[in-house]
């Protein structure tokens, strides 16, 4: 098919074409330039920062999931020596506005501190500001609150029924939103297909769980009226005026300073509550205030629980295994608030049919509110869930047909000559060679060997199983997925830019300024250093990287949705192109050469074929700053450029939403294959082999990409095998610490082999595609498949996660 690009879409301004084979630095496994400061313990995370006269805040959490606050007595807490101020919902009501929300639903109001009613266990009901954290926590215990406990709304299916208690009375119901999208002729395809499978599936609530919780320091300067907030998150610099709105201050008086974070995985994606809270506390007490979530608070109060979904899913197919149609019906338990609307389902619609040729899709969603901590973002943003659904359906279809699980997938793969490929929803897959990735993983994994191994082991009574799964990895979201659910959205943004500025100092030093979140475990500085080295032929370790605060930031969206490497590379390439143009003009003038004869080499610029005719970047920069009369006559002084790079390939949905447009078009592809041995007595799952091959377009740095793949895979393993928030029948979280909420340890995880295929994107700088979420897209599906295969003597069909050891033992015992 042909793609018509919006003439307003960003053009790649770099000199290097996508997939250019002549890349010098992009593609090299250089060591991360971020590492040394972290290895020395000099990371300067949020809790490492101390301001003069700084106070500390701790919150009083609700012990109830749903209750009316009848009275709060803060007098004993206020009397404790060292306590500066105790604030409650009444103070929020008087001095602040509700928190921002993209739910576009005025009936769902979320405040920094609960006003009149708490809607989930762990919700903040009061805050203490004190001289230190110990005193603040002591004082929280002295706050006396009288509650009228209300029936907790916990089951999303019952929550939809007439007469259910309401989470938000102003909404008048608990089903915040529902819609069915239909693409193609779904009913007809199901009627005409020879076969279909229907499966009920459950995906449990878990969370990204970074080691560094969310935190911020507010620092109000009464003299200037500027409120500075140091925070370990800064996404969407063009939406930060919303935070100023909550705080009732002019947006020009708000300055957010991004601080490195010890991990996010979604839990710091547009993290607004914690910085807003710290800023508000500083406004209220007139001194700097630090607020850092402790682990329990992070678990029960961080606004970023992952998806919690019940599905009925159906796949129609022919006797030969050809897929025809997909029908998905989902009830999603969003918890007490709805900050991103139903964007996590918009996301899933970008790759709902996976790598397979399925032309007919129906997708129904009911977004239900309950008395639980609200959903936010978690690595995959909902697409990891839909991939599990799809791959489970494929395994069930293979089982139904008695067909090999690799062959049924291969039969339905989109072929390499079909790109760019328009999916039924309207989203585009830009490029790919899926059979190529499959062949590569089969060769690495040695599938036939392991099939024989499994069969032989089974004869000996051992429980060995194989899992094979494929996945798409959509990268670089545009903003339409948040609102195309609505026919007439109240607010329909279409931008998701990223910016970069380059300055070359008189010494020749290249300084790059980035304009969103500082590093949070990704490698923005390494990526940018490699791009700069590519463009200017300088040593990547020589580049200095800084981060703009929000008062100086150009539009930046930040990491998330596997977008950052693609977008920041485009931004740097754009700023570099402008910089190189200026340098060439200065050099051509000075060297009396044609601009076209110049090249960037050895940290400078010179005439091609003339090694002695060269100027260093310092020579150029000195002229640009000090020697105006050496510059071309129409040129101004200085050597700084900036570039804001917009999403290069996005379109609007159509009016009736039969075509959602292009909103997530740079699509990677991966296959994982694994062999496990299950001990039915203990439920332990041991890995005998784990092989992965990914295609993320042009690879910038194989070593760091491998790190993202392994880390994502293991995070998905946690989802598959260990992690789930357990709520009791009163809505209390029973596993609110690491003793009872288990993350994968070094003993629980495989040693993987990783291969890469590189199919560049035709639409991005250098052909890069995003890859940060890829691993987690596959592990839930592969563990389901492998454990199910291992337990096939017991006839087990895995339809819910996590696959706990207790569950495995129960299956083996025939329970």
């Amino acid at each position: 098919m042909e793609i018509e690009q919006d003439p307003n879409a960003s053009r790649i301004a770099g000199d290097t074409a996508p997939g250019d084979a002549g890349l010098r630095w992009i593609g090299k496994s250089i060591n991360r330039v971020e590492d040394p400061r972290f290895l020395r313990g000099e990371g300067r995370y949020i809790d490492d920062i101390t301001l003069p006269n700084m106070l500390h805040a701790a919150i009083k959490r609700s012990p109830h999931a749903h209750a009316r606050i009848k009275s709060i007595d803060t007098s004993k807490a206020e009397a404790l020596p060292g306590v500066v101020r105790v604030l409650t919902g009444q103070d929020v009501k008087e001095h602040a506005n509700p928190l921002p929300s993209f739910s576009m639903n005025p009936g769902i109001q979320h405040d920094m501190i609960a006003i009149e009613k708490v809607r989930h266990y762990g919700e903040c009901v009061a805050v203490v500001v004190a001289e230190n954290r110990y005193i603040a926590e002591d004082a929280c215990d002295l706050i006396e609150i009288e509650y009228e406990v209300l029936p907790a709304v916990l089951d999303p299916l019952k929550a939809r029924e007439e007469g259910s208690p309401l989470v938000h009375e102003a909404l008048g119901k608990n089903e915040a939103y529902s819609r069915t999208f239909s693409f193609g002729e779904v009913d007809k395809a199901f009627d005409e297909a020879a076969r279909s499978v229907t499966v009920d599936l459950y995906w449990p609530r878990s969370t990204g769980m970074p080691m560094d919780t969310n935190g911020a320091i507010g620092d109000y300067d009464a003299g200037t009226g500027v409120l500075t907030i140091h925070a370990n998150s800064m996404n969407f610099t063009y939406f930060l005026w919303l935070i100023a709105g909550t705080l009732k201050i002019p947006s020009a008086k708000l300055k957010i300073v991004p601080v490195v974070a010890g991990g996010s995985f979604g839990s710091k994606f547009f993290m607004h509550k914690v910085p807003t809270f710290a800023g508000w506390l500083s406004l209220m007490v007139g001194k700097p205030v630090k607020y850092i979530e402790d682990r329990v608070t992070h678990i029960v109060n961080n606004d970023h629980a992952g998806s919690d979904r019940r599905y009925k899913a159906e796949l129609a197919f022919e006797d030969d295994g050809t897929f025809q149609a997909l029908r998905i019906d989902c009830v999603d338990d969003y918890g007490a608030y709805l900050q991103f609307g139903v964007g996590t389902h918009g996301n899933a619609l970008s790759q709902i049919c996976g790598p397979y040729t399925i032309d007919h899709v129906e997708y129904s969603l009911a977004a239900v509110l309950t008395n639980k901590n609200q959903q936010g973002a978690y690595r995959g943003f909902g697409a990891e869930v839909s991939n599990w659904i799809l791959e489970r359906l494929v395994d069930h279809a293979a089982h139904d047909l008695g067909m090999d699980r690799v062959e049924i997938r291969r039969k339905n793969l989109i072929q390499a000559d079909a790109f760019p490929y328009r999916t039924p929803t309207g989203n585009i897959y830009d490029s790919g060679n899926y059979p190529g990735v499959l062949d590569k993983v089969l060769a690495d994994f040695d599938y036939d060997y392991w099939v024989k191994y499994r069969d032989d082991a089974r004869k000996e009574g051992r429980h060995v199983g194989i899992g094979v799964v494929a996945s798409q990895e959509r990268s670089v979201f545009s903003s339409t997925e948040f609102w195309f659910w609505f026919d007439e959205p109240a607010f329909s943004p279409t931008s998701s830019p990223e910016s970069a500025s380059i300055q070359i100092e008189p010494t020749g030093q290249i300084v790059v300024t980035l304009h969103s979140q500082a590093m949070w475990g990704n490698s923005p500085e390494t990526v940018v250093s490699q791009v700069i080295a590519e463009e200017f032929d300088v040593d990547p370790t020589s580049v200095v990287i800084t981060y703009a605060d929000s008062q100086h930031a150009l539009p930046g969206t930040g990491p998330g949705g596997s977008r950052y490497t693609v977008m920041v590379s485009g931004a740097v390439a754009g700023a570099a192109s402008q910089m190189k143009d200026k340098i060439k003009r200065i050099a051509a003038n000075k060297l009396e050469a044609a601009e076209g004869d110049l090249e960037f080499r050895d940290g400078g610029v010179g005439v091609k074929g003339a090694p002695d005719k060269q100027l260093s970047l310092s020579d150029i920069a000195m002229m640009a700053y000090m020697f105006k009369l050496d510059l071309p006559p129409d040129m101004e002084s200085g050597l700084a450029t900036q570039w804001t790079y917009d999403h290069p390939l996005t379109t609007l949905p159509n009016a009736d939403r039969s075509d959602l447009g292009m909103f997530y078009p740079f699509v990677g592809h991966a296959w994982h294959m694994a062999v496990v041995e299950v001990d039915p007595g203990t439920g332990r799952v041991e890995f005998l082999r784990y092989s992965a091959v990914h295609d993320a377009g042009t690879v910038v740095n194989p070593k760091t990409l491998n790190g993202q793949i392994i880390g994502g895979t293991v995070q998905g393993l946690g989802t598959a095998m260990l992690e789930e928030y357990i709520y009791d029948d009163q809505g209390r979280v029973l596993n609110e610490n690491f003793e009872h909420y288990h993350l994968p340890s070094s003993m629980d995880v495989p040693t993987m082999t990783i291969g890469h295929q590189e199919t560049p994107s035709p639409y991005t700088a250098y052909g890069i595609k995003g890859a940060g979420e890829g691993g987690r897209m596959l592990t839930p599906a592969i563990m389901s498949a492998a454990v199910e295969d291992a337990l096939s003597p017991y006839g087990v069909r895995i339809t819910s996660l996590p696959i706990s050891a207790e569950q495995i033992v129960a299956w083996a015992a025939g329970d």
Partner: protein, 163 residues
């Protein structure tokens, strides 16, 4: 709430001896971070389960969040700040982590490094991968999936042998 008098603690940290008056209830992790301004040691659960706050107390790893500062009176402590040379040059273990992508966000890294140091001091040849995995199993990392940490520790052992 009655006021409890501060107690005097004398402790050697990274070769330097400090004398400080501290509240008896102050956690060692907070003492290191706040009183001694050694913020390289991080806390992630304050509960003894994640190992991110691991330090060496008289040569053995301990959870610094589970000790009170007053308990280390007279002891010798090593934290992540002890590893690099005074000019900032990384030691062999730190360099191996840099070379092998043994960190991403870096938050667990101090606990991981001190745990790896204890292991390598006892097992200079590096042992098996299973032994390395067991040695670091008490430190949780959410970024790496551990594989490149294991490779880093193995590489550090190899570098040590070559030296």
């Amino acid at each position: 709430m009655s006021t409890i008098e501060n107690q005097l603690v004398t402790v050697t940290v990274n070769g330097r001896t400090y004398e400080r008056a501290v509240e008896p209830r102050k956690a060692l992790s907070d003492f290191l971070r706040e009183d001694l301004e050694l913020t390289g040691t991080h806390v992630a659960c304050e509960h003894g389960f994640c190992g991110v706050c691991n330090i060496l107390l008289d040569g053995q790893t301990v959870r610094s969040c589970l000790l009170f500062a007053v308990q280390v009176d007279g002891a010798s402590i090593e934290t992540v700040e002890s590893l690099a040379a005074p000019d900032g040059t990384l030691n062999a273990l730190q360099q191996a982590f840099n070379d092998n992508a043994g960190l991403q966000c870096g938050y667990c890294t101090p606990g991981m490094l001190m745990t790896a140091k204890e292991y390598l001091d006892a097992n200079p040849d590096g042992g098996t991968d299973d032994q390395i995995r067991e040695a670091i199993s008490g430190v949780l990392c959410r970024c790496t999936g551990y594989q490149q940490i294991v490779e880093s520790i193995r590489a550090a052992a190899s570098a040590g042998k070559g030296a």
